[in-house]
């Protein structure tokens, strides 16, 4: 069942075209990785898919509970079924616990202590619950960002470079948790990464975004072992000059 339908998407930001001629379908329950060099438009595409902004042209549509939704049609209840982790997480100047509980409080949920405790254990941060987020390391901060998104049990989780510049320990925790949520809850995962090895480890399908255009989309095996487009071959072999 197709979850996302993107048709003829174009996006202009400050008079620069950051996405063009983009068509993409994403199936419910899959892990889709979007790879490409920096500045290719990956993060912009993710923001459009999170319904945080509308595309300049074309359609970004997601079907939730049988309802086709776009940026303009989605209600707050619909939006709350989407979760996003940003490349550079910005936190509230409060404790780790308060940041993870924040989304639940927004939804009017109280008595969330056990949920937050459980989630902090899952990201191995239970010992830092009362610590202020400003004192955390990059890896710890990224785990808080993942925890505050996952605790809301989104149907779709959009991850923007969730492990950029992190050490293997933190990468392992984040990847395992993402995979577990996908396997146990059927969460659809869309991950933007410039790390092709991460895409290979996690994804069911992979797409290459290059200079604002989606060059190739294929299942992970085909993408890495038998890419059709010469630019994909060049990107994977490290020969692409951009």
């Amino acid at each position: 069942m197709s979850l996302y339908q993107l048709e003829h998407v174009e996006h202009v930001y400050r008079e620069t075209t950051v996405l063009k001629h983009l068509n993409l379908t994403i199936t419910a329950g899959e892990i889709f990785a979007l790879v490409g060099p920096s500045g290719a438009g990956k993060s912009t595409l993710l923001r459009l898919m999170a319904l945080l902004e509308p595309p300049s042209e074309g359609k970004v549509q997601i079907e939730l509970n049988g309802k086709p939704l776009t940026y303009h049609k989605a209600s707050i209840t619909d939006r709350r079924q989407l979760g996003m982790v940003f490349q550079r997480p910005t936190m509230l100047t409060r404790s780790v616990y308060a940041n993870v509980a924040f989304g639940l409080h927004l939804r009017g949920q109280h008595g969330v202590q056990s949920q937050v405790k459980h989630m902090l254990e899952a990201v191995a941060l239970q010992h830092l619950a009362q610590r202020r987020v400003q004192s955390l390391s990059g890896g710890e901060l990224q785990r808080v960002a993942l925890a505050r998104a996952l605790i809301l049990q989104p149907k779709v989780l959009l991850l923007d470079e969730p492990t950029a510049n992190l050490d293997p320990y933190n990468i392992g925790i984040i990847e395992n948790l993402v995979r577990r949520h996908h396997d146990e809850d059927g969460t659809t995962i869309i991950i933007v990464t410039h790390n092709v090895f991460q895409a290979k480890r996690l994804a069911d399908r992979v797409g290459l975004l290059l200079e604002s255009e989606l060059i190739e989309v294929a299942d992970t095996d085909t993408f890495f072992n038998h890419p059709q487009d010469p630019r994909t071959q060049a990107f994977l072999s490290g020969d692409l000059i951009y």
Partner: protein, 201 residues
């Protein structure tokens, strides 16, 4: 003190939401609006007093209200002086927050109202500073309240105008004592506002 509390309360109720709104909305002509607000932050009190006087005087537009030389006239003048300070400082505090915070709060499922509340809390040090600045403008004001209040004993005489009067009479010790009271009130109020501001993280 009653004038100060009333004027500061009105300035806070008007100024904080306006400051948040101006910071977060995409209003056309925002640059011009900001210039007006910043100009308002440095309004000469005597000029404000004069304008309010002219509006409230018998021949003025609001002359029929009979508010000249009253508590209300003093509050109006003080609100005009303090509100731009509260708006301007609230606005710049919110604009000074990390611009990534807003979309990230939205991605967590916050409504616009919840986002505004969270951003105001994040900018609380600036918001309190705006109130401190507004309070300072009000409590130290002489020219405007003298003009529109008339410095009437028992009705519109405030500490600052009383200090002026006592100095003119040559009662320096009384003027000085009133000055110490004024400073003490200012210190106590600012201390309370600092407690409200909470601990810097």
């Amino acid at each position: 003190m009653q004038v100060t509390i009333t004027a500061l309360s009105i300035s806070a109720v008007v100024g904080i939401p306006c400051g948040a709104w101006f910071a977060l909305s995409k209003l056309p002509g925002k640059r011009i609006l900001t210039t007006f607000i910043y100009t308002g932050m440095g309004l000469p009190p005597v000029v404000v007093g004069l304008v309010v006087y002219l509006f409230l005087s018998r021949q003025g537009v609001f002359g029929d209200l009979g508010w000249l030389f009253s508590f209300r006239a003093m509050v109006i003048a003080q609100v005009i002086l303090a509100t731009p300070l509260v708006i301007g400082i609230t606005m710049s505090s919110i604009l000074g927050l990390d611009p990534n915070l807003r979309p990230q709060l939205r991605a967590l499922g916050a409504t616009e109202w919840q986002i505004t509340r969270a951003l105001l809390f994040e900018a609380r040090f600036g918001v309190i500073l705006g109130l401190v600045a507004g309070f300072g403008a009000i409590i130290s004001e002489v020219g405007a309240v003298m003009l529109v209040g008339g410095n009437i004993d028992g009705r519109t005489r405030v500490l600052t105008t009383a200090i002026v009067l006592e100095t003119q009479r040559g009662h320096f010790e009384v003027a000085l004592a009133l000055g110490i009271i004024l400073l003490s009130i200012s210190f106590a109020t600012n201390f309370l506002l600092m407690i409200l501001q909470g601990r810097r993280w």
